[in-house]
Symmetry: C2
């Protein structure tokens, strides 16, 4: 376990009991459901007039799924409290997850407000889809405890959380937040560098923009785009990501053969996104990364794992 | 059933017994395995010196998966014949699937050779990853029967096939090929227009190029990129494609709310791909497409379907 944040009294990740969800829309409500199912007390705040009802609806909608996956001991929906006053909502928080609308000015001000009211040393994590904490923490009195903890919809089911600090975030807070999210069952990527959109959203956003271009140009319909993913590459991606997927597209030669064989396709107009220059350095970085990821597994072993995974997914979804 | 191609004697899709796989690498070999498992006689041709051995290896590697999914009556690996002479290989073909390397000059010449030797009226389908048939059919004597039938790796497991004709492809061949692939159990998208990379590869290629840029710039490692997909959005994509996924990101307001709320993010530097202009026409096309796809299902119903699907996938892959 990492040491607790240095900006206040120590709270070990396993001692957190109360989480405050600031913003209770689809993402904030999903976080609330997740923390409730993991046995936390959750206090939620949201300024929208119908926020409490929408939150109750979201938690109720998520609960059957969470129940099916298994609730933590003592987990109970009644341990959710909606609090109309922000300072009161934050009074008992030992961790804060902010999920306000994606509006930079709003987030800067809201994070400063949270920072003014959250107890000393409590980490303040933002669900922002793409802003760096460096852009958002400037108005905080103690910015060292503010950090991005970016989830995926629905936060109560998708494991990934991307953790990345801003220039003023303390390294201890980066370590503590990564530990905390792992402790509550998340799959954590701790980023070394702030990148707009982080990692998964950059990839997802490139795909989404290409799709919008295709609809705009009459090249494909919405339905064709979705079917092309759900019955195509989307079946591989829960098992092996885009890099390892292409490692297997090269046959026994793996990524090295794939880049040598399909490398010229990077010049093809297969997307509106101009390709990276396939320098020897980039080629080696990708090949070496795949080798590290394969971690001694042969191409045949990876093919067998992929096939078993795709079959399991096809069966699980009734597509086999 | 569509009428058979007009350029030769009629062969109903259900009467096809013998398939010729021209090119027997990862994709061609995968096709061979698929057709064998579905009870076809398969003749394979490939000019590489070790092609027969590599093909046998590929079919053996795929067979356990195909057996687990259920073989067609009479399906047998012994019904694969490797034939070193192209004309001989094509003599009995009732359907041809070409899966040669992604080299335009090579494909133009090879398709002309196939066209010269394949029996009259037999459809010639290309696995090309991105060339339009209009670019490739020019040297064929009877180009009307040439068409793109683009699979995904591995062709023996991933259902999607994108079918699209060139300017000289007959409409009957487009219909026949779509019917044939559906008859053998594939999920078919019949495209109205030739687009380089078709649909799924354009989406996948945008993601891949963004990933390469990120590695080149030191923004993410190969392992982080893969984990960001396998534990993140990749878990949703076998269930709901990128459009329907974002339909649910808008809460009860669906895609309309999502575009109004996140639309400004299209101006954010979340990918290197410049966004489409979000005109009212594009907005309406996307919203209307999602409504057609939802087909009367409410947001709550779609959320429940997605959640059930994600849980099934997590469990199937041992991630729950």
């Amino acid at each position: 376990m990492s040491p607790a944040p240095t900006t206040g009294p120590p709270v070990a990740v396993e001692d957190v009991r109360t989480v405050c969800c600031v913003g209770a829309g689809v993402i904030g409500g999903g976080w609330a459901a997740y923390f409730l199912a993991h046995g936390y007390d959750v206090v939620a705040w949201d300024p929208a007039p119908d926020a409490a009802e929408r939150l109750a609806h979201l938690v109720d909608a998520a609960w059957p799924a969470l129940t099916e996956l298994g609730l933590a001991e003592g987990a109970d929906r009644s341990r959710l409290r909606f609090e109309p006053d922000l300072a009161t909502a934050l009074a008992d928080a030992q961790f804060v997850q902010e999920s306000a609308p994606e509006d930079l000015e709003l987030k800067i001000k809201l994070l400063a407000d949270i920072d003014a009211h959250a107890p000393e040393g409590v980490v303040i994590s933002s669900s922002t889809s793409g802003y760096g904490m460096s852009e958002m923490q400037g108005a905080c009195a103690t910015p060292g405890r503010t950090i991005v903890g970016h989830p995926f919809n629905p936060p109560y089911l998708i494991p990934l959380v991307e953790v990345v600090g801003g220039t003023e975030t303390s390294p201890e807070v980066v370590a503590w937040t990564s530990d905390f999210f792992r402790h509550v069952g998340k799959s954590v990527i701790t980023m070394e560098r702030e990148v707009p959109g982080f990692i998964a959203n950059r990839l997802q956003e490139a795909l989404w923009r290409e799709a919008l271009h295709m609809v705009a140009e009459g090249e494909a319909t919405v339905e064709q785009i979705d079917l092309s993913i759900t019955d195509g590459p989307g079946l591989r991606w829960p098992i092996q990501g885009p890099m390892l997927t292409f490692h297997l597209a090269g046959g026994q030669g793996g990524m090295a053969h794939m880049l040598d064989h399909f490398g010229p396709s990077l010049k093809s107009p297969w997307t509106r996104l101009v390709a990276a220059e396939l320098t020897p350095e980039l080629r080696d970085a990708v090949v070496d990364g795949c080798d590290r990821e394969a971690d001694g597994r042969t191409i045949d072993q990876l093919v067998a794992e992929r096939d078993a995974g795709v079959i399991a997914v096809l069966r699980a979804l009734g597509k086999a």
